[in-house]
């Protein structure tokens, strides 16, 4: 019975997501997922200034409560809309549809920062082009094998906080191999406090995805 309810909820969500995808056919939409504290907002703060030189950017910030992240994004000079789920553990397509009009004109690139959660957001399509999952070094090496659904459903993974590698027992090559075992064609970016070059690579890759979509 419980499973039937869930299937029904997911089907409704997919219908709504496909309607969004039609609206989004000329822009790039990235659904950012990851554990609480993996650094989703921080990665956006690193990559948006590069992209914003050439493209219009907007961010939908999902949080259980508070508008701290939306404020951090607004400080970058790009449009930010906050969704508070008030206890909900993931965003769904209806929540996104409900705030698209608040954005005004659609940007070239729309980031949707999901709730910090490696489980539930994996199953909810938000009309995005793809998911990017942020995984951080201090979470430990075992996360890809323990939460494979999220990695199977992502087009790219960011291994974040690599500046902490010297202080931790973490075999990053092994983690990358395990991620590729789940999803062989996934893109992996290593990002940390002082990895300007690497966050620029991520910005380039996102710009290339947009160009490819518009080609």
């Amino acid at each position: 019975m419980k499973v039937d309810v869930k299937t029904h909820v997911l089907e409704n969500n997919r219908t709504q997501a496909n309607m969004l995808r039609e609206k989004f056919q000329d822009i790039l939409v990235v659904n950012m997922t990851g554990s609480p504290g993996a650094g989703k907002t921080t990665v956006l703060e690193q990559v948006i200034p590069d992209l914003h030189k050439e493209y219009s950017i907007a961010v939908i910030e999902g949080d259980v409560q508070t508008s701290r992240d939306a404020e951090r994004i607004a400080d970058l000079g790009v449009e930010a809309v906050q969704i508070n789920t008030m206890g909900g553990c993931h965003l769904d397509a209806k929540m996104v549809a409900g705030c698209i009009d608040d954005l005004g004109k659609l940007p070239d690139i729309l980031f949707i920062e999901n709730i910090g959660n490696l489980v539930c957001p994996a199953e909810y399509d938000l009309g995005e082009d793809f998911k990017v999952t942020v995984l951080s070094v201090p979470e430990g090496e075992d996360k890809p094998l323990k939460y494979p659904g999220m990695f199977r459903n992502s087009k790219a993974v960011i291994i974040n906080k690599v500046d902490l590698l010297p202080h931790m027992d973490y075999d990053i090559e092994k983690v990358e191999d395990e991620i590729k075992g789940i999803q062989p064609h996934i893109e992996i970016f290593r990002i940390g406090k002082n990895t300007r070059e690497s966050s620029a690579l991520l910005a380039d890759w996102l710009a290339a995805c947009l160009k490819k979509k518009r080609a």
Copy 2:
């Protein structure tokens, strides 16, 4: 409609949890929650050897997939049972009821390590005496205010990985104040790689909770 379904699910869960609580009336049951990678299993590895000198201990390990954590716990010489939710984002009382018989005789102290998730497990009663939430320094300062439900429903918080404090911008007093703002009577323990004394305090506190329950 969705809310009604959820209320119904939570009510059924509470009935099942209350049945468990009757079974558990002479033992201490602790529901361990926290983000993926916060260090729930590591805290158990630190605290169980101390408690095991005087008490029988068992652990129910919840994971989306893999039995890595149950193997780590079994290495400590205590009973460990694995629940794999295969995609599910929290344990519920029915899952716990389904594996209680695998434990054989009930232990003095039963730890239930929940799925790594700061949202959904907050709402599901597993028949426990209380929840203990593990929060780790590298997750960042903003977690209590962003996920208040989990802190409101916990009797204790462990701030874990305090050995990383010198390498991060993290005001631990501020975080503790914010946790107490949500739940003034909460117990807070600071634990890290080399904080033997502090994990012993946690073991003492748990032993005292058991004695108080049995008094």
